[in-house]
Symmetry: C2
Subunit: 210 residues, 2 copies
């Protein structure tokens, strides 16, 4: 199966059957999320894996009671940094250079340029920028789930502030961005499964400038 086959196989599962996704598959999906590229390699987001029933019930209430939140066996939540600081950037660059066995100072010029650009843009711009990076990682997890024949429902429709509160994210300098329940489709009960996947036609989607 190719990525295209996987993307055609997947759909935003509306009804899951309650079966548990094996931990090795969840770990594979998380690894794809972790390997995603991000601007300057900062990875300004984390992924929460939630299986705790009480938490899931509270989160479901904060997500219009959408069934996938506890019909799936695992809920993944992408939470992005609520802002960049000189320290948080330095820390990533120090770890990167240490892992590469090169002096931290090789990043000094780049770091000065980056922070010179980011600092005046302010915390809301930072949080939005960090959230955008999280969407790349989210995309990789969606692709990984499809490759592993695990169903998933990419979701934005939840009360972010309520999620942040239930999950204690503010204390961690994080804000919830997008969520992905993982599970298995209820083939008999999902109204969306047998509807044709629609995408913008290629001739409209792609603009050629040759």
């Amino acid at each position: 199966m190719s990525l295209i086959d996987d993307l055609n196989w997947r759909y935003a599962t509306k009804k899951m059957n309650g079966e548990t996704v094996p931990e090795e598959k969840v770990n594979y999906i998380l690894e794809a999320a972790r390997l995603a590229p991000s601007s300057s390699g900062l990875q300004p987001y984390r992924v929460l894996v939630i299986t705790n029933k009480d938490l899931l019930q509270q989160l479901k209430s904060a997500a219009n009671n959408q069934a996938q939140l506890n019909d799936g066996s695992h809920l993944l939540v992408w939470a992005a940094w609520d802002g960049y600081t000189h320290n948080s950037i330095s820390e990533v660059f120090e770890k990167t250079t240490a892992a590469r066995g090169i002096p931290a100072s090789v990043m000094d010029d780049y770091k000065a340029t980056l922070w010179g650009m980011y600092e005046p843009l302010g915390k809301e711009w930072h949080a939005t920028h960090a959230a955008k990076q999280a969407y790349i990682s989210f995309g990789m997890a969606i692709a990984a789930a499809a490759e592993q024949k695990v169903d998933a429902t990419p979701m934005e429709g939840f009360d972010n502030q309520a999620f942040d509160k239930v999950l204690g994210l503010s204390e961690k300098g994080l804000r919830s961005v997008v969520i992905l329940p993982l599970g298995y489709r209820d083939a008999g009960g999902d109204w969306l499964l047998n509807l044709k996947k629609y995408r913008t036609p290629r001739e409209e989607f792609v603009i050629e400038m040759r």
Copy 2:
């Protein structure tokens, strides 16, 4: 090769060797971008494929003269809708229902709810929301390129307004968001190729709530 292998193989190529990526591989990458999921299925973005040398030269000037812009053979540009309108949403829903052979009216309630939510959020919120969706598609294209052993450089560091002007995007209701030069790594000339890939360690990246 699995997606994880592909993600480990890829890196943000800094120096390309000028070889041309075959059109069937470019089309495969575009198809992955097109199949990406998006909020409410709106796909509020388009992908430009640029091979025109004059345009690439102008774009390079608007991207700090970064070499990949014309060392690669194709430049992909994600451009997101500059806002949602009741019409643009209706149009997608009409095409979706038509493709599925169901009456357009089945989407009426959902559309009213969605527009009731989006309208008061304003055009800047819309543009940011649309841009975030584009990042999922961007992620799928990055994964697809890696699967096809095509090198690519995910890039944000360019002058968006200059890009919009060179590409005539405002007239199309679009704004440039991210770009992806495609080509092949210059194995002898790329300083980044032999540096270890660094990612936030799993124990720090994943937050378990069991």
